[in-house]
């Protein structure tokens, strides 16, 4: 592997990491706040992608799709929340996890029903249709756009968490729900907002991924497992955990495919198992934890 290959693969890894980050951040923060994992998070990503596909086909505009996907995912997430999750708070996290597990199967078949079995795609916007040359590399500009978008979202979320009132509630809620409630803050409403934001980001991820990966029923499960791994590796409830976890898993997966192609799919699972054994509550949780 020469320097150019190394650079290209690093960019690929970074691009996959940013996609994983868009999915993992919502899942992770919700895990931290409500102590349950939404296994149907991938479904929202898939729905975002398919709605984006429909909108792109009708309007011919990638940007319209990029707006529609997150909205659709957030609305569906809100419906999940009110119809199921909110009513199940008393039943405990394990039941909530199982319900979202059932929703995976419902989601795949619902999407097959509405959009059919075929793989679809969304064309990248014309502005990012070609490759760019820099530092002796030729690299698709759309992938650079994904990287930039991921970094921008991470920065915005970081600022939002540190500088806004909602951010303060979320930080308090992760550390100590009782205190948060006693501050006179409407914790339920704040949690609901965070949940919807996480769903919207998953939908955003779906549209963003569509020009690079294919849009098909089952794409949710394909992304769900690496996303869960990111959440576990990063430690639940932490923005920084989701970010660094995504970076680690994105890079491990990409370089695994290049360096040990035979056992590439092994790599991320091995990383996760190792992390869980060394630090049972996540790699970064201890460093950033309360």
């Amino acid at each position: 592997m020469d320097i150019a290959d190394l650079a290209t693969q690093s960019l690929n890894g970074l691009q996959f990491a940013m996609l994983l980050f868009l999915l993992a951040v919502g899942l992770s923060v919700v895990f931290g706040l409500m102590n349950f994992v939404n296994l149907a998070h991938g479904t929202l990503y898939m729905v975002g992608a398919f709605v984006g596909f429909s909108v792109a086909t009708r309007t011919g505009s990638y940007w319209a799709a990029l707006a529609a996907g997150p909205v659709a995912a957030a609305l569906l997430g809100a419906a999940f929340y009110f119809l199921l999750l909110k009513r199940m708070q008393a039943a405990g996290p394990m039941k909530q996890v199982l319900v979202t597990f059932g929703l995976i199967f419902v989601g795949i078949d619902a999407v097959r029903w509405i959009w059919g079995e075929d793989s679809q795609s969304i064309l990248a916007p014309t502005a990012f249709g070609e490759s760019v040359q820099f530092l002796g590399l030729v690299y698709p500009s759309y992938r650079l756009f994904i990287i930039a978008l991921g970094l921008a979202v991470a920065l915005l979320l970081h600022l939002g968490l540190e500088r806004t009132r909602l951010g303060a509630v979320v930080r308090a809620g992760v550390d100590d729900p009782v205190t948060a409630a006693s501050l006179g803050i409407n914790v339920d409403l704040a949690f609901f907002g965070v949940f919807c934001l996480g769903c919207a980001l998953a939908g955003l991820g779906g549209v963003v991924a569509a020009p690079v990966l294919q849009v098909y029923p089952g794409m949710d499960v394909a992304i769900l497992i690496p996303t869960l791994i990111v959440v576990v590796v990063g430690g639940p409830g932490r923005l920084s955990g989701a970010f660094w976890g995504a970076l680690l898993i994105g890079m491990a997966d990409t370089f695994g495919k290049v360096l040990i192609p035979d056992f590439s799919s092994f790599v991320i699972y091995a990383v996760m198992a190792l992390v869980l054994l060394l630090r049972p509550s996540g790699l970064l949780a201890a460093r950033h934890g309360s």
Binding site: V97, F101, G102, F105, V106, R112, V221, D262, L276, P280
Partner: protein
């Protein structure tokens, strides 16, 4: 509570067994093959129930041991040419040993993290067999060959005989697991499920019991895998993929956690719905998924819980006398 509950469970199990025997006699080639599949999945589901229903350890990687049992059987039969009488117990032992080793690591984490780590180990197994040249990669191993059962007048190539053996095996596994789960050992698992910290404060070495449950469940899943390999005469990485773990978890929960007969019922319903609904609509998983969600939400005891509505005769317990 324990006595009456057992009586009801055994009645439902007997009804299920009668239905199986009826199906064995009345159905044709395809029906008998399906019956064999149901019985094998019932064994697999009952093994997971030991973990999820009794011990409270929700595993999303149980197919690892099912697949390992099947692969071990295939490897012993085709590569080492071991006779079935030796290959079958050895294959079960391989699954048990794997479960013991994975268990040592997995039981260190809890709750949602336990789901994740079992998922990770399962997927690692799947990834391994997909790429392994020794074990045939994606294509798997076919032509496993069937043990010579002429001595007792059976042939596994014949679906009726295969179904008979699978149903008998399922019945024996049910009886054995019912016995084990009703024993002091089984009650310790229930105690851990109910309140782990109290069990520990009373002096129970909780981790050892969890490991024993994990190993037992892995061994029985391995047996189901051995039978699955014999039934199809073929093994592939598809046996270990995480959706197999997910499906068997659905069977256990839909059927009724911690009841053994419930998961067997769940496996039956699963195969029947899959084959019948899928003929009617390609979207049968939608119905299955909604049904699963409804069970989790409203019916803790799943389908088995519905049998509680039947007015069972009360048995007198010695302690009431």
């Amino acid at each position: 509570m324990i006595g009456d509950e057992d009586f009801r469970r055994h009645c439902v199990a007997a009804a299920l067994l009668s239905a199986a025997i009826l199906a064995l006699v009345l159905s044709g080639y395809a029906g008998r093959d399906r019956l064999a599949e149901i019985a094998i999945l019932a064994i697999f589901a009952m093994s997971l129930d030991v973990l999820v229903g009794f011990t409270g350890l929700v595993s999303l990687g149980h197919a690892l041991f099912y697949g390992l049992g099947a692969y071990a059987m295939a490897a012993f039969a085709t590569m080492l040419k071991l006779p079935a009488g030796l290959a079958i117990p050895l294959a079960v032992l391989v699954a048990a040993l794997a479960a013991f080793l994975v268990g040592i690591l997995a039981i260190r984490v809890r709750g949602v993290f336990f789901i994740m780590i079992t998922l990770a180990f399962g997927q690692m197994g799947w990834a391994y067999f997909q790429r392994s040249r020794t074990f045939g990669g994606i294509g798997g191993i076919s032509g496993i060959g069937q043990p010579d059962l002429d001595a007792i007048g059976l042939s596994l190539a014949n679906p009726a005989d295969m179904a008979l053996i699978a149903v008998v095996a399922a019945a024996l596994v049910y009886l054995a697991l019912a016995r084990v789960t009703a024993s002091p050992f089984g009650r310790m698992l229930v105690a851990i499920h109910q309140n782990e910290s109290r069990a520990r404060a009373l002096g129970l070495p909780v981790q050892s019991y969890k490991l024993a449950a994990f190993t037992l469940a892995g061994a029985v899943a391995g047996l189901a895998g051995v039978l699955a390999a014999e039934r199809t005469n073929f093994v592939s990485p598809d046996l270990l993929v995480w959706t197999v773990s997910g499906e068997v978890l659905i069977m256990v929960i839909v059927g009724g956690l911690g009841t053994l007969v419930g998961p067997a019922l769940g496996a039956t319903i699963w195969v029947l719905l899959r084959d019948n609904l899928s003929a009617l609509t390609p979207y049968w998983m939608l119905a299955m998924g909604l049904f699963f969600v409804a069970v989790v939400l409203f019916a803790d005891e799943g389908l088995y819980g519905l049998t509680a509505r039947i007015p069972w005769p009360k048995r007198r317990r010695p302690s009431d006398a």
